[in-house]
C-alpha cells in the first residue's frame, strides 16, 4: 500500500505557516516605511521606494526564519512519520514560495505607494535611480546597500523588466533563507561549537552572494578582498545566485539526510 508523496503536503503546510509570519513582518516594515515617508515629507530627505526599503530587512528576516526552519519543523515532521527527505523537499519548496510571495507583495505595495503618492500629490521624492548604489538619509546616519541590478531595473522605471526585478528580489532573499537554514541545520546536528563553523561558511556565502549582485560589501570581514564589488551581467548574477542556492541546499541535504532527531 503505497501512500502518495508527502512532500507537497509539507511544502503547503510550511508555506502557510511561514506566510502568516511573513505577513506580520511585511506589516511592520510597511509601518516603518510609512513613518519614513512622513519623516521625509517634513525633512526634505530622499527616500527609497518600498521595494528598496524592504529589501535588506527582508534579507535579515529570511535569514532568521531560515535558521528557525530546522528547529521548528524537522523534529515535528519526523515525529509524525515524515521522512527527512520529504521534509527537505517540502521545506525547500516552501522557502522558494515564501521568497517569491514576499517579493510579489513588496512589488505590489511599491506600485500602490506610487499610486497613492501620485493621487495625494504629497511632496515626497522617491529615488529609484541612485547612482552610488546606496540609499542614505540626509545626515548619512542610515545607509542601505541595494543591488545595482534592482536599482537600475526598478519595476516602475522600466516596467518591461518587472519580472526581472521580482526574480532578483526573490533570489536575493531566498539565498539568505537557505544560508539561515544551513546555520540552523549545522547547529541542530553538531551543537554550538561546530555550529560556529557554519556561521563562518555562511559569512562567506553572504559575501559571494553580495559580489554576485554587485552590491558593495558591507561585512568588515571582506576588507581583505582586493576589490569591493564586481560587475556582472544580470544573467550571470542570476545564474550564479541559483548555483549558490543549489550548493547550499545540497549541503543542507547532506547534513540532514540521516540526522538524529532531538527529543
Amino acid at each position: 500500500m503505497k501512500q502518495k508523496s508527502i512532500f507537497p503536503k509539507v511544502a503547503f503546510d510550511m508555506f502557510s505557516v511561514q506566510f502568516i509570519w511573513s505577513l506580520w513582518f511585511i506589516s511592520f516594515i510597511l509601518l516603518a516605511h510609512i513613518v519614513m515617508i512622513v519623516v521625509s515629507i517634513n525633512s526634505d530627505s530622499v527616500l527609497g521606494e518600498f521595494l528598496f526599503f524592504s529589501h535588506s530587512s527582508s534579507k535579515v528576516y529570511m535569514l532568521v526564519i531560515g535558521i528557525i526552519s530546522s528547529y521548528a519543523f524537522l523534529t515535528f515532521y519526523v515525529n509524525h512519520g515524515v521522512t527527512r527527505k520529504d521534509y527537505f523537499i517540502g521545506a525547500a519548496l516552501a522557502a522558494v514560495g515564501i521568497a517569491a510571495a514576499i517579493a510579489i507583495i513588496a512589488a505590489v505595495l511599491t506600485g500602490l505607494e506610487y499610486a497613492v503618492l501620485e493621487i495625494t500629490n504629497l511632496p515626497v521624492t522617491i529615488n529609484n535611480s541612485l547612482a552610488d548604489n546606496s540609499i542614505e538619509s540626509s545626515d548619512n546616519s542610515i545607509s542601505i546597500f541595494v543591488p545595482k541590478a534592482i536599482l537600475s531595473s526598478s519595476i516602475l522605471v522600466h516596467s518591461s523588466s518587472w519580472l526581472l526585478s521580482l526574480l532578483m528580489y526573490t533570489l536575493n532573499i531566498l539565498t539568505l533563507y537557505v544560508i539561515g537554514w544551513l546555520i540552523g541545520s549545522g547547529y541542530y546536528r553538531f551543537g554550538w561549537v561546530i555550529g560556529f563553523g557554519f556561521i563562518a561558511i555562511s559569512l562567506v556565502s553572504i559575501i559571494i552572494a553580495d559580489l554576485l549582485w554587485g552590491t558593495e560589501l558591507g561585512e568588515p570581514l571582506s576588507n581583505w578582498l582586493p576589490f569591493s564589488s564586481i560587475s556582472l551581467p544580470v544573467s550571470v548574477s542570476a545564474a550564479g545566485s541559483i548555483i549558490l542556492i543549489g550548493v547550499i541546499l545540497w549541503g543542507i541535504r547532506l547534513l540532514t539526510k540521516r540526522i538524529t532527531i532531538k527529543m
Partner: protein, 290 residues
C-alpha cells in the same frame, strides 16, 4: 497488514557510551508490550530507533520486513509519543489535532474529539499554556487517535494525575480491544500498568534481560503467605524478592517456578500461595545485587 517488528543484534553507541548492547527480539503485531527498564536502561534509545529518530550503530530493525529508517510507508505508521518540550508551541489544541490528521493516515478525528472530552482538554487553548498533565493528555490523545499500527508511549503519562492516568489506561484497552495494534508502553509505573501488558520486555543497562508473556512471567514467582515461622521455613533455599510482615502473618515473594509438589506442601502447612507482582519481579531482575 500486520506490523511485526524484528530487532536483530541492535547496538547503539553515543561516542564511547554503549546505550544498547546487542538486543534481539521479535514483536508480533497486534499486542500490547510493556517495555521495562530502570533509569538509563536504554528504553528511550530503543524506542527512538524504532521511530526512526536515529540510526543504530550496529544490527537491524525490520518492520514488516523492511528497514523503517527514511521509509515513508513505515514511518507514517509508527507513532512515538513522548514528553515534548511545548514551551514554544503557541498552536492551539484544535490546530495541533488538525495538523496531525494531515500526516497520520489512520487518524480518527471523531475519536480524537471523544478523547478531548474525556480528558477535558480545552480546544481553544494554546498548547504552551496547558499544564504538564494536560500536555501529556494531549500527547496521549494524538497517540491514540492516530491509530498508528505501531504506537509507542514512552512514559507518556508524566505529569498526569492518577484519575487521568486511569482514563488513559481504560481508553487504551478499550480501543485496543476494537482495533488491535502493536502498542509499546515504556514505564516505571509497573504496578499500575501491569494489567495492560500482553507481553513484557525487560532491558537492563542496555542489554536484553527477557521477553515473555505477562502471565508466564508472573508465574515465575509466587507469594507465600501464612504464619511467620512456617513461611520462613518453607521459603528457605528459595530466591526471595520481598517480604512483608503484619503481626505474625508474613508474606514473602519468591522467584522461581513452584512445582505442584511444592504447592501441595505449602497448602498442607496452611500457607497461601498467590501470584507475585510484576513490579517485584522487575525490581528483582534488574537490581544491582543480581
Amino acid at each position: 497488514m500486520k506490523f511485526d517488528v524484528e530487532v536483530n543484534n541492535l547496538s547503539l553507541k553515543y561516542n564511547d557510551y554503549e546505550a544498547l548492547k546487542d538486543l534481539s527480539f521479535m514483536l508480533e503485531g497486534g499486542k500490547v508490550y510493556g517495555l521495562l527498564g530502570r533509569n538509563g536502561a536504554g528504553k528511550t534509545s530503543l524506542l527512538s530507533l524504532l521511530a526512526s529518530f536515529r540510526e543504530s550503530t550496529k544490527g537491524s530493525i525490520k518492520i514488516t520486513g523492511e528497514n523503517p529508517f527514511e521509509n515513508a510507508d513505515i514511518m507514517q505508521n509508527v507513532h512515538l509519543i513522548y514528553e515534548k518540550d511545548y514551551k514554544d508551541e503557541s498552536e492551539k489544541v484544535k490546530g495541533m489535532l488538525e495538523i496531525i490528521e494531515r500526516y497520520r493516515p489512520n487518524f480518527d478525528a471523531e475519536y480524537a474529539q471523544y478523547l478531548v472530552k474525556r480528558f477535558k482538554l480545552p480546544l481553544d487553548k494554546a498548547v504552551n499554556k496547558l499544564s504538564r498533565g494536560m500536555q501529556s493528555a494531549l500527547n496521549v490523545t494524538m497517540g491514540l487517535a492516530s491509530r498508528a499500527p505501531i504506537t509507542i508511549f514512552d512514559e507518556a503519562y508524566l505529569g498526569m494525575d492518577a484519575p487521568t492516568r486511569e482514563i488513559f489506561y481504560k481508553e487504551l484497552l478499550a480501543d485496543q480491544a476494537e482495533r488491535p495494534r502493536t502498542m509499546i508502553l515504556s514505564t516505571h509505573l509497573v504496578s499500575e500498568m501491569d494489567y495492560l501488558f500482553d507481553e513484557v520486555i525487560i532491558i537492563d543497562k542496555g542489554a536484553f534481560v527477557l521477553h515473555e508473556e505477562y502471565e508466564t512471567l508472573i508465574s515465575r514467582g509466587a507469594s507465600i503467605t501464612g504464619a511467620a515461622e512456617e513461611v520462613d521455613d518453607f521459603v528457605s533455599g528459595m530466591t526471595q524478592l520481598n517480604e512483608q510482615q503484619l503481626g505474625n502473618t508474613k508474606a514473602v515473594m519468591v522467584y522461581g517456578y513452584l512445582s505442584e509438589k511444592d504447592k501441595q506442601e505449602a497448602l498442607q502447612r496452611g500457607l497461601e500461595v498467590g501470584p507475585v507482582s510484576l513490579q517485584d519481579l522487575f525490581i528483582h531482575l534488574t537490581s544491582e545485587e543480581v
